[in-house]
Subunit: 201 residues, 3 copies
Amino acid sequence: MFHLLDIIGTMAFAMSGALTAMSKKLDPFGVFIIAFVTAVGGGTLRDVMIGRTPVGWMQDLTYVYVIILGFILTILFRKKLDKLRTSLALFDTIGLGVFTLIGIQKGIDYQLHPVICIALGTMTACFGGVIRDILCTEIPVIFREEIYATICILGGIVFFILRKMNLENDVLYLITSLVIIAVRLMAVKYKWHLSPIEHKK
Amino acid sequence: MFHLLDIIGTMAFAMSGALTAMSKKLDPFGVFIIAFVTAVGGGTLRDVMIGRTPVGWMQDLTYVYVIILGFILTILFRKKLDKLRTSLALFDTIGLGVFTLIGIQKGIDYQLHPVICIALGTMTACFGGVIRDILCTEIPVIFREEIYATICILGGIVFFILRKMNLENDVLYLITSLVIIAVRLMAVKYKWHLSPIEHKK
Amino acid sequence: MFHLLDIIGTMAFAMSGALTAMSKKLDPFGVFIIAFVTAVGGGTLRDVMIGRTPVGWMQDLTYVYVIILGFILTILFRKKLDKLRTSLALFDTIGLGVFTLIGIQKGIDYQLHPVICIALGTMTACFGGVIRDILCTEIPVIFREEIYATICILGGIVFFILRKMNLENDVLYLITSLVIIAVRLMAVKYKWHLSPIEHKK
């Protein structure tokens, strides 16, 4: 089940990357790379920083195939995807929750401090998008307006509070991802955002 | 012989990086870093992702010296390099072929799947240029118009098809690099390129 | 003593990153990430390239706490920091000296060639700022005008010359960091800079 959600999240991230790249008028190779990087960039950065190499997607080809599929689907159905925007946003949000948990779990596997685990969860979920934006020479959207990373951090805190209570891993995972997904959906619905810090030079 | 081609490719990549950086009016340190990154950035990214550390150029100073030489030559002869553009493009193309093979070979050494090996080859040959463009805040040229990475992927496929036929390593290397070099030269000559995917918002 | 200077440098780098991010109108999360990356980005890049993983700040939470403190102080006192500009520049310069030494020492620990050690020192001191600028989609300031990295290289050369003379480690560290700090302060005072290389297309 969890693995299925991971796949859905990967596909959604790849498709959102491909859509961004197409709006930038990149060629098919550029679109593919941006799709790839959006989907696995965060996890790759995490793996490289904790020394888990060769990085994840090199050892399990599922991700590569899912991204190729997402890339092809996006190109084929690019004119119809606008109507599916709500579904895509939902899948993207599932990815946010699942990727945060995967990152946290990797930190625990490497016996790192909870603060670092939360950082790894946030990195896994959000930094694919950061690399995507940098490759498109835009200031990363999550640094500007989207309340996105903050939700991952919040989810991570919930995770470690619940963990202290000795809940079972399955329950822990379920509640944390539901919290992340629910808060994110509310953030989108009610247009929550972080304001820039006012600072006159 | 192969090592000599590697050196020629490194020099050509460093010089192309230095030229790009000078056109951006960077100072000498900036020009040097861009030359360096263009030459070894792809291989560094590959090494970091597969866990081959300290990365290549830290263990064999030849690359550093070749890049320093390329940097100095570019600055000294910057006004004459325009006339040598054809030679430079040829050397650059040799680099493309050789770097792709080196990347594929590293993947095989780490017992990775052929698909991943081809990705590593393409990364080795093309991502120095990607990092160069990002450091100059431009959308990477290989994502936009240049048919460049696609040729590396094609070369990688040829490599693994021939490998199935149990050809000797030397022959395998020779044919693959000739294929990459020949296709690239034709692509330049006949101005082949990938078109952006049409996508109205 | 040395550790204290490391902390001061980290704090100064975090604050300078936060100030840059605020001038770009990033939201608080963006400001925090830029502060973080400016402070530890260079060392992270170094650790990843030499294979020292999990990277430094994941193993010693002091850095994370110092950066959080620097982030909060910058936000609280953002209107008064202009008056403290001189002190901030001094602390930043201390960071430059200390970080260069830390990077060189890591290279020595990994038994790398002096040339590579100097590269690692420069990377540690300067590439946090490079990543900061890239995340803000600006061409890195140290590639354009600031004489900054050149001073780290100079300091590194001084370090290895003195080391040949069998000086004690403490003396070696002290002299090198004083050289870097003194030259940098003079460079700021007398507005030394590297000129772009003239190059007409």
